[in-house]
């Protein structure tokens, strides 16, 4: 993904021009590197505007979103990249310097389940890079209103935690994780908490209808990979394409077109106009994906309410 020899993120390094098969030894993690013919094949095909799986240049792989039994449990498939995100909430003490803010953390740990190249319990460049992008796009853009998580100023607040489990890694981890987290945040319901005479009472899910989180906007990251000295820029690269790429361009943007993140970490320089064009593409894609997410959420909600009604009527019959 980022063909920078030994340099570790976030240290910025000067770009050294890479030509042809000269950067065959460069791999981003310890994924098995591509053979030279394989790399040449991918690059040659791109010169003719053909991708390995026959997709268009600006096309995402098929996206499939499913939900688990509990709230905030999302199973997402982007092509062969398979991710599970779980959201959890607990009551904690807010930070000293931000007494009005709740806590929100994104936790992404790569395990050997996703790919044999990932080592258990050891953080990799890919993990650090993805976490940074997710933090910037979702957390720092304040997609989840942390002030609404405050219960008593300086004493107690909600701590929301998103855990990302990578089950299968086949490229474009960041976008898949981003979509999954945003979906999970919209799907999640936290228990209702009420302050009575200075005491916090947290009601169980059975006692009171759980509360949805306050989402201010829905930003998503869109990752492009660049090839052939920045002349070919493709969206949602698969693992093989990522291995052959020179650099990545990540755009974080929401439905309204507000850009909250743009990064071009490394790799061959990309024309400024190309970046502007790709931003327009990113906006279109984000709108499409958000519509898809909304549809999935609505379908799940409808099913849940139907099930809830059925459960209620059954309880009546029992009595």
């Amino acid at each position: 993904m980022r063909p920078v020899g030994k340099a570790k993120w976030p240290k910025k390094v000067d770009f050294a021009p890479l030509t042809g098969a000269g950067f065959a030894s460069i791999t981003m993690s310890k994924e098995h590197p591509l053979s030279n013919p394989e790399r040449d094949f991918i690059l040659d095909a791109l010169r003719q505007n053909v991708r390995l799986d026959g997709r268009e240049v600006d096309q995402f792989r098929p996206l499939n979103i499913a939900f688990g039994d509990e709230y905030g449990h999302v199973k997402l498939q982007l092509g062969k990249t398979n991710i599970v995100v779980r959201i959890s909430a607990e009551v904690t003490k807010p930070h000293e310097d931000r007494p009005f803010d709740g806590l929100f953390n994104i936790n992404l740990e790569l395990s050997a389940m996703g790919s044999p190249a990932f080592e258990n319990g050891r953080s990799s460049d890919l993990e650090a890079n993805s976490t940074h992008i997710l933090d910037s796009v979702i957390r720092h853009s304040n997609a989840l209103d942390t002030e609404s998580l405050c219960i008593i100023q300086g004493v107690s607040c909600w701590s929301i935690r998103a855990d990302v489990h990578v089950l299968d890694y086949d490229g474009n981890l960041t976008d898949a994780a981003c979509i999954a987290i945003m979906t999970a945040l919209q799907h999640f319901r936290r228990p209702d908490a009420v302050v009575k005479e200075g005491q916090v009472i947290v009601y169980g899910v059975e006692d009171r209808v759980p509360v949805a989180l306050n989402i201010t906007h829905k930003p998503l990251s869109v990752t492009f990979q660049t090839f052939n000295d920045g002349t070919h820029i493709i969206l949602d690269a698969s693992r093989r394409e990522e291995l052959a790429s020179e650099g990545e361009l990540v755009i974080g943007i929401n439905n309204a077109g507000d850009m909250c993140f743009l990064s071009k970490f490394s790799g061959a320089p990309v024309d400024a106009l190309a970046i502007v064009n790709k931003t327009t593409v990113a906006l279109e894609r984000v709108k499409e994906i958000n519509a898809l997410v909304d549809k999935a959420l609505k379908a799940d909600l409808a099913q849940r309410s139907k099930q809830g009604m059925a459960d209620e009527s059954r309880a009546e019959n029992d009595r």
């Binding site: 050997a112 389940m113 935690r161 489990h165 089950l167 299968d168 890694y169 086949d170």
Partner: protein, 249 residues
């Protein structure tokens, strides 16, 4: 009573994988096995003639802590005995087992980890089978709780574990040998013996092997005990994998 559900080889990248869901305790565990694999950090293994078994447990909604390390130790010792690490291609390599708890409640800090142990053991076994790792035997495991009134309850939920006087996790090999015995709480030997008998029945059913080690096969009895459940899951998978062959005959 609703039995567990399991499926094999549901992931693409890992060599072998399995998912296991226990409706009574609510745990949904996904396991992946990579074997044999180069372990760059374990070049100078303590036992160079054997494969190193590594187990990693990833909790659903928290970071792995002391409890996970503890349960990993138990799993490693059980699975290390079962995996034939001296087979060709295995010495000096690693058998990496990754278990992610993707559904159900969390084991809270201070709670007993024994409730989730059978789910983790079964997932690892099925994932190992899916990765075609040579094993000396299969096994089945269960956790039983003993209430204050000396009543034995099976498939203890985390809530039930809190109320129980003692907890016992036992695993039996396919030949009826006791592989694992982890107990917690106050109990005497008579209770433990009753627990062992009950656990053996849950894992093996009535089909106690005869002296020559043969197990009587009975289709009906298979479904009621865990050993039969493991066997059936693998049989189903093999059947679907060899469907083309069955159809062409």
């Amino acid at each position: 009573m609703v039995g567990p559900t399991a499926s094999i080889s549901n992931l693409n990248r890992a060599d072998g994988s399995a998912s296991f869901k226990c409706p009574t305790t609510g745990y949904d565990v996904l396991g992946a096995v990579n074997a044999p694999i180069e372990l760059p950090t374990r070049r100078d293994a303590l036992k160079p003639e054997e494969a190193t078994v590594e187990v990693f447990v990833k909790p659903g909604t928290t970071t792995a802590g002391v409890g996970e390390r503890y349960i990993e130790g138990i799993l490693r010792s059980v699975l290390g005995k079962v995996v034939l690490g001296r087979e060709k291609g295995f010495p000096r390599r690693g058998v990496v087992i990754t278990l992610a708890i993707v559904g159900g409640g969390n084991v809270e800090r201070g709670d007993s980890y024994l409730t989730i142990l059978p789910a983790l053991l079964h997932t690892s076994l099925l994932a190992l089978l899916s990765a075609s790792v040579p094993l000396s035997m299969t096994f089945a495991a269960t956790t039983l709780g003993v209430t204050i009134s000396n009543e034995i309850i099976r498939d203890v939920s985390p809530r039930g574990a809190k109320a129980a006087a003692s907890l016992h996790a036992l695993a039996f090999s396919s030949k009826g040998h006791l592989l694992l015995n982890e107990s917690q709480g106050r109990f005497d030997f008579e209770i433990w013996e009753a627990v062992r008998e009950q656990a053996l029945f849950i894992c093996q059913g009535a089909a106690v092997p005869s002296a020559d080690g043969d197990v009587a096969m009975d289709e009906e009895a298979d479904r009621t005990h865990l050993d039969g459940f493991i066997r059936e899951t693998v049989e189903d998978q093999i059947h679907s994998e060899y469907n083309w062959k069955v159809d062409s005959v």
